[in-house]
Symmetry: C2
Subunit: 303 residues, 2 copies
């Protein structure tokens, strides 16, 4: 099987799992939560492998525990505000407390920092302290916090549509850039990080993303019978800007791999490389899409 076919097959399998998780709300979205923990586990493993140096090494176990706690906090917040399942009363109360009573993410980041420094003091050699601790915290910031925003985005009344929206833009712009680059690529985009990327690829990616959003809206309205909560003009702007942000997410992960002198983040996903190779752009676009609608809602627009 050639690389492109493998890439497509993997993608199809993942899309099916992905769609299932978004719509299957039974068991209080438990499979989404467990899937999130797996993503954190494998994602941190890849990221922390990038951060291994002669004198320093991230604290995997501590990084994983605090990242899992951060994601759990988002999951509990989510259960109390989503519309599809009715969790027990204590979950509502915990969710409210975690949203309004105090800010659990800042607390966990602080507790993580103190824990890491104490471990560094007693368990590690003198050198490399700043990179070991800094890289461990980076894991929570780069993976766990964005992943939590998946759930926050899904909790909106139009949450499932928003997840489709951001995923469509992210994956279609990437696929568009890949095929656009292969078929029309002539002028290098001049990026030191990814020297093979071409302007043609990026332009095709961007146009594909905008068209894909319009197609998504058409199909969504046809099959759900409900109007999507964004106008055509807004859809075009979202497709355009989030395709760019998606490229930034992709390049950010390439920058990490370049720094670490590693080609693929791992070989976890056939045809795609590692988990981070696949998820890199979503880690930027999903939280950004959440804040877009969050701020839109705070300004009084329906979301």
């Amino acid at each position: 099987m050639n690389e492109t076919a493998l890439r497509l097959l993997s993608a199809i399998a993942l899309v099916i799992a992905y769609v299932f998780m978004i719509f299957h709300s039974g068991f209080y979205y438990l499979e989404f939560y467990l899937f999130g923990l797996l993503v954190i586990f494998f994602g941190l493993r890849e990221l922390y492998a990038f951060c291994r140096r002669e004198d320093s090494k991230p604290f995997f176990l501590t990084g994983f525990i605090f990242s899992a706690l951060i994601f759990t906090v988002y999951y509990l917040q989510f259960l109390g505000i989503q519309f599809n399942v009715s969790p027990p009363q204590w979950v509502y109360e915990t969710s409210k407390q975690l949203r309004e009573g105090f800010h659990p993410v800042a607390f966990l980041i602080f507790a993580m920092s103190v824990t890491l420094w104490i471990l560094q003091i007693f368990k590690r050699p003198l050198d490399g302290a700043l990179f070991s601790v800094g890289a461990t915290i980076l894991g929570a910031v780069y993976i766990a916090i964005p992943l939590g925003h998946f759930l926050l985005l899904l909790a909106f009344p139009f949450g499932a549509y928003y997840i489709f929206l951001v995923s469509t833009i992210t994956f279609i712009s990437d696929a568009g850039a890949y095929f656009g680059g292969r078929w029309f690529g002539k002028h290098s985009a001049g990026l030191k990080i990814s020297p093979k990327k071409t302007w043609e690829g990026y332009i095709v990616g961007n146009i594909s993303a905008v068209l894909a959003v319009l197609l998504l809206n058409y199909l969504w309205e046809k099959f759900s019978g409900m109007k999507v909560p964004v106008t055509v003009f807004e859809s075009i702007l979202l497709g355009f800007f989030f395709a760019i942000l998606s490229v930034m997410g992709d390049l950010a992960e390439s920058a990490m791999k370049r720094d670490a002198k590693i080609k693929d983040s791992s070989a976890l996903i056939p045809g795609h490389g590692g988990l981070l190779d696949l998820a890199d752009a979503l880690l930027f676009t999903v939280p950004a899409m959440y804040y877009y609608f969050q701020f839109k809602g705070m300004l009084g627009f329906p979301v």
Copy 2:
């Protein structure tokens, strides 16, 4: 003037400024806010100097801007919940939104991460990306978030007392360890990071902290005429455990300096070295004290 006298004189000047800032609520605690921004500026300068390597360098301006925004968010939250000044109505509303509507610190940390990666992609060489970005984020986590908790702690009805409580434990345990080590120090505590520290020093520091809390409570009740909101037993436990946490804060900063091969974080404060040399322990103990009372309050105890 010898080192000890200089150290004491500096300390007295700082204590006066510190007490003024806690009690002077005029101008909506503006001098506290401005002082916080200065601490962030000089603190980040010192921390980021620790993180300079051959191939990597933190992004000072971006780190400062986002750290200042994080601190500003805490300041606005604080204004809406403190009891001493009455800010305009819009401040109350903004504060409520920033506490309950969405979680601004997680948002700012995410936005900071994306901004840093984009800067790294376009402005920096390929190497050192992970340390440059990780260290910049570490600055916000290590300095700005803890500093914000100063204000959250002050916002409690007994906030001024709590600030005195945590500052007393932190500084007296440090001073006690310093003089205890000089006068009685015999058995090395065996710390690679600070080989000169002795068990005698730490024990004297710890006992001093406990006694100082009891003295503080006595004086506070005598002069304010109000009962302090902690029992004698609780005071002893707080003195004991926060003296230990205070030592961890001190050692964490020593670990950073060791890693950076720097002796003093800077020469900003006569007799003490840099800002971080002086503030290191507070960056651990103040947020921890805030969460202690926050959780105590959530469990239904008066705070």
